[in-house]
Symmetry: C2
Subunit: 203 residues, 2 copies
């Protein structure tokens, strides 16, 4: 199993490293320079958009971090990171796992770029405003669930917490958890997991 | 089972209607006015962002069209719209089902708004450019698979074709399939399915 990631903090490769650490699966990492290696024909065969992560499993490459997390959770179903098929918990799991890339990632990643990563003359304040407007609804929505239970789906930590937790951790780095104590407490639970620490701080 | 949708063409509720028609499941539709009903507290309890679709199943509401499609496909696994857990086909299914909301929906829906739905003085050409740049990579990526097989995952039509097919149909309405014969042929296969016709024309 090989993870293609970039030498840059905050990539969505963190989701894949995190779930692999939760599952205790050994893996290789190929670290790319996003401006050079990731635009070479060889890598574009693996990820047509020249982004990270991509994940090779039995010689086949899959893209989309949320998809990779679902597949890994299913492959190790005994570890409890994926609720059983056809249950209401599975529906809720799908909802949160899709909510992250569909609704959270765009605004949060755009906010990061347009407040910090891009040079000041390339930053567009209207995209930051749009991100903040989404977060203004998303934060109470997450809070509604996370103020009555520790994890997003049922009573146990699942892959949904990895996928959404990535966004919560990124939001925290931008000060977006201020005034959201339930989300701060959730991040506290997430970041005290050994797998989180290894994924974010290990090599 | 109740689908919350809007009286507007092109909503992502089409994905849910389509898969319900494929599965032959009867359902109720509650049609909302996006500017009024969808912003009422009662609906915001169901969908915090005041968008459509939302789907009520056994009294529990789920949001995110791709998530709803996965759950419905699992609940009727005998109909073959979801590959078996833990197989390479299931990984590919997840990839395409996440690719749609993560990578395709944003640009395609933004393009629709900023070329047609918004009044001319609110349209932002740079968002159309960004959409076109994504499509320039996405169209060959889809073509790579769809020029060698009829459907996205393995040899059979699955929920991935519903989720991604929605974007292909929307792209076609904006003339974006020109110069992409494999995608035109794919849309031909999709739109000749009785469930597609019922979802898009019935109702």
């Amino acid at each position: 199993m090989k993870l293609y990631d970039a030498a840059m903090p905050g990539t969505r490769g963190a989701r894949v490293r995190w779930i692999l650490e939760e599952l205790g699966i050994p893996y290789d990492v190929k670290t790319l320079d996003l401006r050079k290696d990731a635009k070479q024909p060889e890598y574009l065969e693996i990820h047509p958009h020249g982004r990270v992560p991509a994940f090779e499993i039995e010689g086949e490459a899959i893209i989309e971090s949320a998809a990779i997390c679902m597949q890994l959770a299913d492959l190790h179903a005994d570890r409890g990171l994926a609720p059983k098929l056809g249950t209401p918990e599975r529906a809720r799991w799908y909802q949160w796992i899709v909510y992250a890339p569909a609704t959270l990632d765009g605004p949060i990643v755009e906010r990061l770029f347009h407040t910090a990563l891009l040079p000041p003359d390339k930053r567009r304040p209207e995209l930051v405003e749009r991100a903040d407007a989404t977060w203004k609804t998303a934060a109470p929505f997450l809070t509604k669930t996370l103020s009555k239970q520790d994890w997003l789906v049922g009573d146990a930590f699942t892959a949904a917490d990895v996928v959404v937790g990535y966004d919560v951790a990124l939001a925290a780095n931008m000060g977006m958890l201020e005034g959201h104590p339930a989300l701060q407490a959730y991040l506290g639970r997430l970041s005290s997991r050994p797998a989180f620490v290894k994924a974010y701080e290990g090599g």
